[in-house]
């Protein structure tokens, strides 16, 4: 098995991606609280849903990136 190296840059990108997903999930929660007129303490009590949504968004984003990088990689190989 080949050794893989996760660079510091990659780690930073992934952490920031996760943070952005978490912020987006929180914004969705804020929107829902406003729309359905539920108490603001749900910002805390619905954290479970928010974290789950964060992971879901992160996974979807990862899949999109994998597909995009895959296609770009394929083109590069062909050109070479």
């Amino acid at each position: 098995m080949k050794e893989t190296v996760i660079t510091v840059r990659r780690k930073k990108i992934e952490i920031w991606t996760l943070v952005v997903c978490f912020v987006i999930a929180n914004l969705v929660n804020v929107y829902a609280i406003q729309k359905f007129d539920t108490p603001w303490n749900e910002l805390f009590w619905s954290l479970g849903y928010v974290v789950t949504t964060t992971v879901v968004i992160y996974c979807i984003w990862s899949v999109i990136r994998l597909v995009v990088y895959g296609i770009i990689g394929l083109f590069r190989k062909k050109r070479r």
């Binding site: 969705v28 829902a32 406003q34 359905f36 007129d37 749900e42 009590w45 619905s46």
Partner: protein, 442 residues
């Protein structure tokens, strides 16, 4: 002493101890006959009772009469020897008659129980009241509405004590349920759906064909009005009791669909009794499928009561009927998104999801530990005996019983004629929303 304790238990179970006398007596005034301050005054008294028609129901009642120390069965009358033989096992010292008129002439009898087939109720009850006897008549009151009205008038003019066998009026589950309903715990009652399903022929085996009509009187129109008067009256009485309102009209349908054995009364029948404001009580019986059993589903906008099961349920699904806590905004939004996605599916409308009954555990009317020990029959008999001793007819009982019978009999006519029938004004009593109008003034 033991009897007094069980009476106390009954009142306690029915939630009738601890209530202000006013609360209790205004909604169920007939219970006054069992109030402690009244029953203590009648200790030592003895009512002498005659039983006319001690068949299956008659003997059932005799067993309850025997349990009351203020009564004794002194006479029996039947035309079927096995009924007499069985009844004598319960009341061995009773004098036996083969003609009910002779029994009614007996001055040693204070009150009679009439438990004969339906078609005999009217002539026997009229004669009994004329003979000055207090009367416990089994339901239904009579064979048609006109007879019921006549009998009610006879009760009024003779001033005798008059009960009809509507024992739910004394059943603790029903008393408690009605108290809750009338407090408004379930909102305004919008509809009462009642049914009584059985799977059986309703037929007695007879050794000799000449006994067919005597033993199976229920199956022949000449003697009986079938399921409506045998079962329906109990349920309809619960419906009007819950709604505190009497129907204006009735329509229905019925037929012999399964037990095609020569019977003349329907084995499958259904009626809709409607109020002037559109609310309804429905009644249905089928005797070839018993899956849903027997129930009166009393439906208010805030909740439902099923007294036969002894349960009640709130629409909100919460234990105490408080509004259910809304789901967090986040979940509501997810559901919203989900609904929007599915609504767009080409094969599905907005109601693609089946609206099956709510699976709510519900609450016990009498509490979880309550064991059914009475269906109210013992208490109805005790109340009758007390009333005979005090010569005070409890309020509203005759009227409740009158309408229980008259309504189902009108239902019978509606099915028979295939028409929507209005309750005749000349047969209305001045009771609840009904007002009597003599025929000529109409």
């Amino acid at each position: 002493m033991e009897k007094d304790l069980s009476r106390r238990d009954f009142l306690k179970n029915a939630g009738l101890i601890g209530l202000g006398a006013g609360t209790l007596l205004s909604s169920v005034p007939w219970m006054s006959a069992l109030a402690q301050e009244n029953t203590s005054k009648t200790v030592g008294e003895k009512v002498r009772i005659g039983i006319i028609g001690p068949g299956s129901r008659g003997r059932f009642l005799m067993n309850f009469i025997k349990k009351n120390s203020k009564a004794e069965i002194v006479a029996l009358c039947d035309i079927y020897q096995p009924s007499i033989d069985e009844a004598l096992k319960i009341a061995p010292k009773a004098k036996v008659y083969d003609d009910y008129r002779k029994l009614l002439e007996d001055k040693n009898i204070d009150a009679v129980f009439i438990t004969t087939p339906l078609y005999l109720h009217y002539p026997m009850a009229m004669d009994a009241l004329d003979a000055g006897k207090d009367l416990y008549l089994e339901k239904s009151m009579a064979y048609n509405v006109a007879q019921c009205f006549d009998l009610y008038q006879k009760y009024k003019s003779t001033g005798r004590i008059f009960f009809v066998g509507q024992q739910r009026l004394f059943d603790p589950r029903y008393l408690k349920a009605m108290e809750m309903i009338h407090e408004g715990r379930f909102g305004e009652i919008q509809a009462v759906r009642t049914f009584w399903f059985r799977n059986g022929s309703w037929r007695n085996k007879v050794s000799d064909p000449s006994l067919e009509r005597l033993r199976n009187w229920r199956l022949y129109k000449e003697y009986s009005r079938g399921l409506l008067t045998e079962l329906g009256g109990h349920l309809l009485q619960v419906g009007t009791w819950a709604m505190q309102k009497l129907p204006e009209q009735v329509m229905g349908a019925g037929g012999i669909t399964f037990w095609k054995d020569g019977r003349e009364v329907w084995d499958n029948v259904s009626c809709i009794f409607s109020m002037d404001d559109g609310r309804r009580i429905t009644y249905e019986s089928v005797i070839s499928n018993k899956f849903y059993g027997l129930e009166e589903q009393i439906m208010g906008n805030l909740g439902t009561v099923e007294p036969e099961k002894g349960m009640y349920y709130y629409e909100s699904g919460t234990k105490d009927g408080s509004p259910a806590k809304p789901a967090p905004g986040f979940m509501q939004m997810m559901t919203d998104v989900q609904n929007r996605i599915f609504e767009k599916l080409p094969f599905a409308g907005t109601s693609w999801e089946p609206e099956v009954a709510k699976d709510v555990k519900g609450n016990y009317i009498m509490g979880e530990d309550y064991k059914i020990t009475t269906d109210g029959t013992q208490e109805a008999i005790n109340a009758f005996i007390e009333s005979v001793i005090t010569q005070k007819q409890p309020e509203r009982i005759a009227e409740e019983c009158y309408y229980a019978s008259a309504m189902v009999l009108l239902g019978y006519d509606a099915v028979e004629q295939g028409k929507i029938l209005t309750f005749p004004h000349e047969y209305r009593l001045n009771y609840l929303n009904h007002k009597h109008q003599a025929k000529q003034t109409l």
